[in-house]
Every structure is written in C-alpha cells, then in structure tokens.
Symmetry: C2
Subunit: 372 residues, 2 copies
Amino acid sequence: MDDPKPWLTLARVPGLHARILGEAADPRALVADSRRALGRLGLEAAAVEALRNPDAAALAGDEAWLAGPNRRLVTWGSPDYPPLLATIADPPLVLFVEGDAAAMSMPQLAIVGSRNPTAIGRDTAEQFAAHLAATGLAITSGLALGIDAAAHRGALAARGRTIAVLGCGIDVAYPRANAPLARDVAASGALVSDLPTGTPPLKHHFPRRNRIISGLSVGTLVVEAALQSGSLITARLAAEQGREVFAIPGSIHNPMARGCHRLIRQGAKLVETADDIFAELAALVESLRPGGGPADAEAADAQAVSAPVLDKDYEILLDALGFAPAGIDTLVARTGLATDSVASMLLILELDGRVAQQPGGLYCRRLAGKKE
Amino acid sequence: MDDPKPWLTLARVPGLHARILGEAADPRALVADSRRALGRLGLEAAAVEALRNPDAAALAGDEAWLAGPNRRLVTWGSPDYPPLLATIADPPLVLFVEGDAAAMSMPQLAIVGSRNPTAIGRDTAEQFAAHLAATGLAITSGLALGIDAAAHRGALAARGRTIAVLGCGIDVAYPRANAPLARDVAASGALVSDLPTGTPPLKHHFPRRNRIISGLSVGTLVVEAALQSGSLITARLAAEQGREVFAIPGSIHNPMARGCHRLIRQGAKLVETADDIFAELAALVESLRPGGGPADAEAADAQAVSAPVLDKDYEILLDALGFAPAGIDTLVARTGLATDSVASMLLILELDGRVAQQPGGLYCRRLAGKKE
C-alpha cells in the first residue's frame, strides 16, 4: 500500500472516524491541510493540533509494529475494508490487523458475554461457536476472559475462522491470560484494533471496540450477561446498527441470565440452539447485501470495491459444483480454493438459494436463484 | 335459587354454551321448547335429543351432590357468575362449585405448567403463588400433579385464595393423590367444574377445562412446560381471550423450559420475579374493567349484576381507610369485612390509583382517582 504515515496520523486524532471526513477522505491532503480547512470539518482544536503536530515517536512505533510478519493496516475505502463495518454510523478510519484481513469480510456472528460466566454458560458459548463456525460463519468477539474467550476457542476447535477485536493497541497483551489465545486467533482469522499501538486498555475504549464487534457482524449473540455487563452495550450497538440481537435465556435463579432476559424483553431473539440462529441468517445476510435492505447505498459502495474478486471465486465454485451432489473436499480438490473459503461461500450461496445442502454434507446447485 | 333441574339438563347437552343460547337463555323455556325451536338455535340432533329426553338418574346424581354442604350451582346470568369468565367466546352455562363461589369474581392469576416439573420449577410455582396470593390476588389452576398443585399449595401457604378448575365431574376425585389438596382448596377458595357429576377425566375435557382457568383470570403464568404440554393450550386460550400470557424462562438444557421459551417467542411476557407480574397487573385489571378496554360491552353487562354489591363494600372500606395510613388488621376491625376480602379490595383500589401502599404494609387513600 501507499505510505501509511498519513493514515497513522489520522488514527491518533481524537474523535475522528470515516463519516467526519466525508468525501474529503484523502489522508495525505488532510494532513497537509491548513488549520482553517481542518476547522471547517468541525474538528476540535485538540484534533487539529494532533493533525498538525503528529507524535513522531508514536508513529514510528506503529510503523515498527506493521513491519512485523502477517500484519496489515486496512484503511477506509480500500478493497479489504470490511463491507458491513463500512455501513455503521462511525466506521473506523484504520484497522490494525494481524492475521488474514480477508476474514473480516466473511459473514460473521458476534458472540459476547460475561467475563465471569457459569461453567454452563462457558460451555454453551463454546458449543454455539463451534457449531456455527463449522457452517462457514466467522465468529467475532472481544478476546475478554469468560464468554469471549470461550467463543474464540469454540470456533478454533471446529477449525473455523474467528476474529478478535481489541480495546487496546494491537501490540498490547490484554488480558495477559489470553495471549496464547490471541496468537491462535491471529493464525486462524484476525486480531483487529482501530486503536494505535501502545494504547492501554482503558475503560472508555471498550464501547468503541464493541461497535466494531457488532459492526463487523450480521448479528450479535449474548450468551450470559449480568445486568451491568458491557456485552449489553455491544447488543445495544448492534440494534442501533440495524443488526439482529440474539440472547440465550437461563434460569431465573442465575444472575448471569438477567442481562439476556432484559434483551429478550427489549426484542432480542430468544435462541435455544445454534440452529435457531442459522435459521434467521438467511434473511439477515440478504437484507445486509447490496439492494437487499435499508442502509444499502453505502454497503453497495463499500462492497463494489471487493465484489469482483469474490464473484470470480463464486463462479469457479458454482462451475465446479454442478447439479450432482458433491462434498466440500471434492469441491476443494476441483477448485483449488481453501477449505474454509469453500465452506463460507457455500453458506452464502445456500442463504441466497443458489445451492442446496443434501443429507451427508453434500451440496448441489439449484435451478432457481431464489430461496424457498 | 330456582329449580336447578332445567340448568342441570342444559349442562348435559353436548356442545352447549351460553353464547349459543344467546338472548333465549331461559332454561325453563328451553327445555320445554319444541324440537323445531331447538333446531332453530342450530343444535345438533343429539343435543336436541338430550334436551327432550334428559337422563333422570344422572340429574338426580347432580341434585344429590348439590344437597351436600358448601355446594352451589352458579348459573349464567346470575349475580355470582364470574364477570371475566362471562366475556369469553364460549362461557359455560353452569358451574358446579364447592367452597366460596364469590372467590371466582376476585381478580386472579392462573398459574399452570408441567405435570412433571423439575424440583426448581415446583418451588418457583409455589413461591410465585405465595407471593402473589399475599397481595390479594386469587391463584387459579387445574389441580393437576406438578406445577398446578404447587401453585395451589403456595397460595394456601400464604393464607391466600385459590381456585381449582377440574376436567371431570366435581364429585370425581382426580387425580386421586390430590384429593386432600382439593379439600383444602374448597375450604380456602373454590373447587369448580362445568362438567356434570360423574363425568370421568377424559382427555378431551381438558382443553374445555383450560378455557375456564384462563377465562377466570386476568393473566396466565406458565412456569415450566414441555413442548407438548397441555398448559400451552391454556396459554393459547388466554391469548385468544385477550388476556396476558406470562412465561418463566429457564436453562436451554432444561426440556421443561422449552414450552415457556416458545411462548416468549410468540409474545408472552418473560417474567423473572412475581413483582414483574404485579407490575403488569394495573394495566390488565384496568383494561378488563367495564369501559376500560376491548371486549367490554359484555364485561359491562356481566359486571352490572354484581357491581352494586361490590361497590357497597368498597365504599365501606374507603370510608374506613381515610388518609392516615392503616394496616389490614385495622381495616378488618373497622369494617367487619373478611381479611381476604379487604386484601383483595385494597389490591384493586391500589391498581385503580385510589389507594397507595406505604412501607410496613400500611395503606392510605389518595386524593386523585388516577394512577401515576
């Protein structure tokens, strides 16, 4: 990519996100701009100051991190920028990514919840994540202790993709106990942060992080949450972003079910099994695709960049599929595509009604392009 | 009352309920009527036959039962006919009652559920019933094993009123294990059946019984229920009758929570505490009172009969209350009314906004007649 320095400078401007820049989103022009021009964007004096006098040592730290293996800076407007995240009210300008940045553009479900779940809650998060990851969905969470970690682990156990969004700089090991898990997540999917390197995990960063978790995802599942849990913020943000909220009920004697019950009263979908979520996904994925639902002008803009690449792989897969049932291994051998890509594309084609799943894990094309 | 024989004859006519009779509800005229006139009511040939040739021995059995102590036949249109039950689509023409028929006109909540609940479900039913009975609500259920019995027991333990509606003749001890409980229910509130004496507990009688349970009640709470549970029928009937449905969530690993979760998905109110239900009752009781909501023309008709009696006691109670806080015992001493009547009336006055409850179980009048 181009020189990342202008983007890294923007990443350190307090309160800045893509919508504030609007059409003027050429970072090079922006950092070279006059104070008065910057003032016209409505930026605070402190923000203008951060733009005019960037912290050179801090930027050098960002660049040093980016120089490491398997690391990327994904910037607003680039082909790798995740299309669903591009549709939220305050999309981040940059994403520091370790791992496979393309995983962020997969259809994904956020699974979040308490840092102190019950043993059953932890098992439930892991089982739902494993089941849904096996269908080709990526599982997104916040790498926190408890439900978040169980969700990442479940996806990893199913050899699925998982994405962890951090509330601190991507180089900050927090929580420390999850450092080995973070490495596994980066190897399978992606570790993501919109915060510059070295940013400590301060409390006010977490709602900001949560908007990315919900914004990347077609829906957010809350597994267990007390009434004061931060995962209720993620659920609220998901609802504000027009995404689906799912919650798992529990015994009225379990305080960790209270937050889920509140969400259900507020309209979240009560789910008992991973299949309950899968059943809702067709409509969700459909409504979030270009031309399919509200908030789509921008989704269409954002997706237009990456769509051609995707379409080519889909064509290859559909050509390889034919109308005789075939399993994923066969399709991988026929197409040369990666197993998880094939699984993910089959999910989308199934939700689109272009592919039908048969007993025994076999897939075949359908004549009509519409769902039943 | 008048000669019960014409009513007892009607009670044995298959498929008959008060709406079918319409305005022609003089049972004496009806049983003396010609075949052709009966045919005009749309009755089946078998029903006409039952009217023209009543089973004399069976009627004698009904009369023998009625001759026992503490027994009543409450008939359609009489002052004791429960006003909420009078508003349903198919009100029973007669109710065989053992105990206090007036209990059926109290504001009441149905609590129903599985015959095979978990130990926690059983405790929950008992605790909710005790808590709500203590506020002056009557607790209505079906005397079945499991949740039903626990609900009756909870109300009894709180020295509250409870009503059991049977799916068999009121003289048939079913289920046998609950015969002692049935005696306690009759002593505290009322045992009720619209089926003639000697009717066995056949499966198809239970939906018919369930419509009375839900029809007597401002709302129905389902505590635990499998997906095939008959209590889901009660909940459906409650919804069809325009009453509120409440359901208690549970662990997704508890099969006895499945029915409740289905109800919540269909729009039942998720409740975690008895207070959640109490909080909903103001609006419910209000909307079911004459002039307050839908389906009220008939509620008004039905209540007009018994309202004067009630109003007199309410006036006595309000006069005794004044604006200095007083406890229930004081009010009982001042009015000469029964303790449970005072508790029930205070509940209604509180829901109407005419009485406020103070700390320490004290009550006082409020200046405005409206709720906050």
